[in-house]
Symmetry: C2
Subunit: 203 residues, 2 copies
């Protein structure tokens, strides 16, 4: 088993934080996205989508998409549960993870990929107007998240979950994307301090 990883890139990092929370350690191989190594014929044979990360199982099966890799390990080792327990909690965890993916991680990534010179080879063509359209979306969603974190310790409720991982990675990705955290989001800040202090956040 091996994880194809890419430094601090947001999606591989989600998988690594998830594994750290589970206490699972597996060998990794680095693929440098800034050097375009994900577009090499060798890596395209692993993932034709040219995206990171990818997991190769001992039987040769290749699993891509960070959340698909996380789900593999959730079934293999259910404790601690990171996708919820029981129908309602599983659904609410999925809901908040997806809200954080679509409205935060994807929106921040759109800003980075369509405005940062270092992303010119990743995103062809860059559409600067699309980067700008996403900046206010990020702030709008952070305000909704602040309301949720005013009433709950973690993003999906009372337990740390994959939704916290997605939100943490997205917020850390705001810095290279040059998006400032609004000063008045006190509940997001309280939560960010707590999840950033977990050992898994070093991943």
């Amino acid at each position: 088993m091996k994880l194809y990883d890419s430094g601090r890139a947001p999606n591989p990092r989600r998988t690594k934080i998830f594994l750290a929370e589970k206490g699972i350690s597996i060998p990794t191989e680095q693929v440098d996205m800034m050097k375009g190594e994900q577009r090499s014929p060798a890596y395209r044979a692993i993932n034709p989508m040219q995206r990171m990360p990818a997991l190769i199982l001992d039987d040769g099966t290749i699993i891509t998409e960070s959340i698909a890799i996380c789900r593999y390990f959730e079934v293999q080792q259910p404790e601690p549960p990171l996708f919820g327990v029981g129908a309602k909690d599983i659904a609410l965890t999925e809901m908040w993870n997806r809200r954080c993916e679509i409205n935060l991680l994807l929106a921040v990534a759109n800003v980075f990929r369509h405005s940062h010179p270092a992303a010119a080879a990743l995103e062809v063509p860059q559409v600067p107007a699309w980067a700008e359209a996403n900046r206010p979306k990020v702030v709008e969603f952070l305000q909704i998240l602040d309301g949720q974190l005013a009433k709950n310790q973690f993003v999906a409720g009372g337990r740390f979950s994959v939704a916290d991982i997605t939100a943490l990675v997205a917020i850390d990705f705001m810095k290279p994307s040059k998006i400032d955290m609004p000063a008045d989001l006190t509940h997001v800040k309280r939560w960010y301090g707590e999840v950033s202090a977990r050992p898994s956040a070093k991943a």
Copy 2:
């Protein structure tokens, strides 16, 4: 229990096809997105993200995001399984569902939302260059999907799954988005004929 639904809009339709495959029937209430009813104070109290669909449970819990709603029913009624069975199959089903969401459904939606006059109130601001950038992405992914369907009856392998639902809905959404299906994708066409003929596709 009630599902807030919106005609033939792609995401509510995913949930309805899923429920039809499970043989589950629940009351629905229509929210007309083209009239902007999802932005009304009444619906914003249900889903501050102003997106469709939403499920309200008998205890008042609100679940939004179509796949989160589908997962609720997958746990409540596991048969027939639509998210896979066992770690590897669950991971591969998640992988293909996400590939179809990100590279097909989202790409087609980007074309529609950023180019169609009827979507001007849904997507503010419309960025026409982003619509155009997404057209070749749709075709590129359909070619990868054709390769997968050359070797497998369904999108995620040998069993009908949520990934087929996402792909079917995305392909049907190509018509209002004015994207033509490339003529040479024979395996996609074979599969499309089969899944479209299932009674659930009428949802």
